[in-house]
């Protein structure tokens, strides 16, 4: 290790930022030679003498207040009065607060119950709260979803990869690293030789990943009619039962509705009725999540040799991952999906396109034009939100409002003709704060009036 490394450790020690391993390293270094201890002492002395930086400057608050009151026209007629704060809080007040807390808890409990246990679709998970919520979906997938997000639980099975994946298809072999936005119809290939006979009810739409190859074999027929095209190749593995009829479409998404009826792969009521291990798959995919709308931070960790987990979005589009952490944005009111990969690699499949998104990359997929773009991750982390931190970096006001609306599940109404896209501001909103704090930070950056009407409505005006 070079000296700079140890100076960095010394800085951390002085700032109380050392962790146990670093402390151990530093102690070993200090005991190495005496000069190292002297170095530490010199830095410590330097640190100590800085303690009074600017502390000798005094400010006269009384005089400053007179100037402040005059400058900003603050009434001061009663400022000489001795104001005694009210210090006694009666028992009645505590009882009132306690009652309010109990009522609030009951209300929240009812909401949660409604969200998870009493919806028409028992497999649906929705977050109607004003903060992110985490779910451990199975052994392999953990997800944190933002407010106003929802998805259906897929039937995820603990299956080994079937490397002799038996399906004979007329498939398009698409280079997974290609940036081709519309898959070609050439290069049909026999993926592994066996026939896909017997259980093929629809006959044509076959999607399968060859686990030994970086290429993806995707048949090209009837894709548009079947978003998660029924894949009926013969699979000799422990697949799960899906009765198919996958006709989810973006049009069928009921905005904000928890009554999602397009559980289209035939996941009938309740996981308990479905054997996860004894029935056959129609498309040989290991769905952890289906019909995902909103924003989710996924941590996928599939055990070695097991099938990848599939996070299905819509219109047959899905993400396949084995070991990766990524963020998915697929809001109903946007016509694009965004995938940000924090670690690992994910595969995004949209119709004929198979796109590999690697660590540090962002994929933007336009659902209308089917075009896509791969870029580097934005400068500020797009992953912070899952820890409850909203980051704004010269964010135009309209985008900031949109982020706040989505994150807190509120509606912001702007009664102003200002061009919001021209208003940028920089701020970081911390987890320990609340929506009010977030609004305060906004109003500090840009002069405007913000009024909260109830829990979920915010009115903004007089933006200057």
């Amino acid at each position: 290790m070079n000296k700079d490394f140890y100076i960095s450790l010394i800085s951390k020690k002085l700032s109380n930022e050392l962790n146990a391993a670093e402390l151990k390293d530093l102690n070993i270094w200090l005991s190495d030679v005496k000069a190292n201890s002297l170095t530490l002492n010199q830095f410590k002395s330097t640190w100590d003498i800085t303690k009074d930086y600017k502390s000798d400057i005094s400010f006269d608050a009384g005089t400053a207040f007179q100037s402040f009151a005059s400058k900003y026209e603050i009434p001061t007629t009663h400022t000489k009065t001795n104001i005694e704060p009210k210090r006694k809080v009666g028992v009645k007040k505590y009882i009132l607060i306690l009652s309010l807390l109990m009522i609030t808890s009951a209300f929240i409990g009812a909401l949660i119950y409604n969200s998870y246990f009493n919806s028409d679709n028992p497999n649906q998970v929705a977050n109607h709260e004003m903060h992110a919520q985490s779910f451990n979906l199975n052994d392999a997938v953990n997800v944190t979803i933002a407010p106003n997000s929802r998805f259906d639980k897929g039937v995820y099975t603990i299956e080994r990869k079937d490397i002799s994946n038996n399906s004979t298809t007329n498939a398009n072999n698409i280079d997974s690293n290609s940036s081709n936005s519309n898959g070609s119809n050439s290069n049909s290939s026999n993926s592994n030789g066996s026939n896909s006979n017997g259980s093929n009810s629809n006959g044509s739409n076959s999607n399968s990943f060859n686990s030994n190859s970086s290429n993806y074999n995707n048949s090209n027929s009837n894709i548009s009619n079947s978003k998660r095209a029924s894949n009926n190749s013969t699979i000799n593995s422990l697949d799960y039962n899906t009765n198919d009829g996958n006709n989810a479409s973006k049009n069928s998404r009921a905005s904000g509705s928890s009554n999602n009826t397009n559980n289209n792969r035939g996941l009938d009521s309740g996981l308990s009725n479905n054997s996860q291990y004894s029935t056959q798959s129609t498309d040989n995919k290991n769905y952890a999540v289906e019909n995902f709308y909103g924003q989710g931070y996924f941590d996928v960790n599939v055990k070695a040799g097991m099938k990848p987990a599939v996070i299905a979005v819509e219109e047959g589009n899905y993400i396949e991952a084995e070991n990766a952490i990524f963020n998915l944005q697929n809001y109903e009111d946007d016509n694009f999906s965004i995938i940000d990969v924090q670690t690992g690699t994910v595969k995004f499949v949209a119709g004929d396109n198979v796109l590999i998104v690697e660590e540090g990359q962002r994929l933007i997929y336009d659902e209308t034009t089917k075009n896509f773009e791969k870029v580097s991750l934005p400068k500020l982390s797009p992953f912070q939100w899952h820890k409850g931190i909203l980051v704004f970096d010269n964010t135009p006001l309209d985008e900031a409002f949109s982020m706040i609306e989505r994150f807190f599940g509120v509606d912001i109404e702007v009664t102003d003709n200002s061009d919001l896209s021209q208003q940028n501001f920089t701020a970081t909103y911390y987890k320990s704060s609340t929506l009010n704090d977030c609004l305060e930070i906004l109003s500090e950056s840009i002069d405007m009036d913000i009024v909260r009407n109830g829990q979920r409505n915010i009115e903004v005006s007089n933006i200057k």
Partner: protein, 193 residues
Amino acid sequence: MNYTDSELIEIFYEDGSKGIELIFKQYYEVMCRTAIRITKERSLAEDIVQEVFFELYKKREKLKIESLIGYLKRAVYNRSINKVKGRKDHVDADEIAYELSDNGHNSQDELEYEELETFINGVIDSLPEKCRLVFVLNRFEQLSYKEVAAKMEISVKTVENQMSKALKILRAEFEKYKYLEKILDEDRGILSE
């Protein structure tokens, strides 16, 4: 007398002008000290703090404040950092190489009349801007590396690097100062003999 935050908030919501006076008088100095450490300029620091108090006063009926000191500190940090970033003379620390010999503190004539504290203040003030801000926020505002990183929108690694850099510069200057003082003392001793 000093009031607790909750007392001040209660008075503030009952009577804005009374409340703002009490809040102002209780927190003006500490907020100015925070602002001046970030901006280095007294008048700018006072302006920023007054703006923050006025914002608080103006928005008193619209926003519920849960932590007064938290609100004020955050507002002063944000405004001060934005002012520093927006200054025309602001140069990103990474764009310049800091020259230890070119910071105006190596003259014996200067050192002869400066106290250690003034000297150190000067050295801190002359640190590269990003480096100084990181150091000030961590050393004097007690923000963790992570908090400094978030506040300045840089990585924690950058904070670590900037802290090391600040300490190296300060230590070098301090050692130089001690050395020059020693020489001056020796000179004075020779002259008085």
